[in-house]
Amino acid sequence: MRKIKVYIGTLGLDQHELGAVAVSRMLRDAGMEVVYAGRFNLPPMILKTSLEEDVNVIGLSCHSWEHMYYVPELLGLLREKGVGIPVVVGGSVITPGDRKRLVEIGVTAAFGPGASEREIVETIRKIAGRADASG
């Protein structure tokens, strides 16, 4: 069976990359394949890379204000193009209010600053539809 493939990147001008790198490592160690897009990603670029790489999940790291602008834009773009890849966000600046709002508009899961490695890995496995699979 193909490994779960996850896109990981940060949005817009957000410079804080450590969280994205840390999560990429967690997913890799859990047996997943990570397409690491690094910094400076805008919704059209995220969509393009995710389609080209045929990822199962789009993971966005949020440590600046941009998520409340770019995530809705990305979701709109995915809907418009009929792309059903689930979007997951995580980061230090995601407040309970943001989490609620993002899930309401279609984000599949949102992790705040206290999320554990286990929670992140298990949720992504579940979202990718492989709750029982090892990788």
Partner: protein, 273 residues
């Protein structure tokens, strides 16, 4: 008893005593406050020795300016400016420590502590050992190209997050003494408050850019690009570019291009040259 360690892994003793600082030469190792090597602070007196500062600055420049003036009006006497850190929470705590305890009446109150000084010596020893180890590995530029430094920091970060996850590194509120979400309401309204991006600033920048002598801008930016491609001093063309009205973004873009990166990493703005 289990061996205790500092956060960076230095073994800690239960008690520190003169024996831990045997041969410690005060003048050479520590020195007086206000004198070289300034180990005990840059001032010899306690007046102004305690500077309240906090990271401040958020959003666009006019808003940051407003915030900095506000902090100064509230008694802050030092400013640490960062692009995106909204703050005001810690100034009062610092003022309480400063004004209500006597700790700020003394310069460097912990200087000379058996514990602090032996810990500092141990850190220094370990830092030197690490520097020599890295130097022995060869050219730092090669190491950097091979991703050695990046991996070094990533490993440290992974280790840090593992220790938090396991609970061996306690973080109050995160992996110990957590507050249930429904009770965790302090400052939550402020946290949820969103600051609208200053869209008008974008318009102002566009207007500013259009109002310049574009031929001149292209010329000075080309100068930055060409010098960045070679080995010459970049300061001269950078200063000339700023004086002619080029922006930091444009100058940074020229340098990115010269080093083989796109002018705009987002691919939204075309290079002016």
């Amino acid at each position: 008893m289990k061996q205790a360690h500092s956060r960076s892994g230095i073994p800690l003793q239960a008690v520190y005593a003169p024996a831990d600082l045997r041969g410690f030469d005060y003048e050479r190792r520590l020195g007086t406050p206000g004198a070289y090597p300034y180990t005990r602070g840059r001032r010899a007196d306690a007046v102004g020795g305690w500077i309240q500062r906090e990271l401040s600055g958020e959003g666009e420049p006019s808003r940051s300016n407003e915030q900095l003036k506000y902090l100064l009006s509230q008694g802050q006497i030092g400013l640490d400016v960062i692009g995106d850190s909204p703050t005001m929470a810690f100034l009062r705590t610092q003022q309480i420590v400063h004004l209500e305890s006597s700790v700020a009446k003394v310069v460097d109150p912990l200087g000379g502590s058996y514990f602090v000084e032996s810990l500092t010596d141990e850190m220094e020893k370990r830092i030197w050992a690490r520097v020599l180890e890295i130097e022995a590995m060869g050219d730092p530029a090669d190491l950097s190209d091979k991703g050695w430094f990046k991996r070094f920091f990533e490993d440290a970060m992974a280790d840090y997050s593992k220790r938090i996850a396991e609970g061996s590194l306690p973080k109050v509120g995160l992996n110990i003494f957590q507050i249930p979400e429904e009770e965790d309401t302090l400052l939550k309204e402020i946290v949820e408050g969103k600051i609208e991006p200053c869209w008008s600033r974008i318009e102002r920048i566009k207007e500013y850019k259009m109002g310049r002598d574009l031929g001149k801008i292209r010329q000075v930016l080309t100068g930055v690009y060409e010098k960045a491609k070679g080995e010459e001093n970049l300061m001269v063309p950078i200063l000339e570019a700023f004086r002619s009205g080029a922006t930091m973004g444009e100058i940074g873009g020229m340098m990115r291009m010269a080093y083989g990166y796109p002018y705009d990493p987002h691919g939204l703005i075309e290079s002016p040259i």
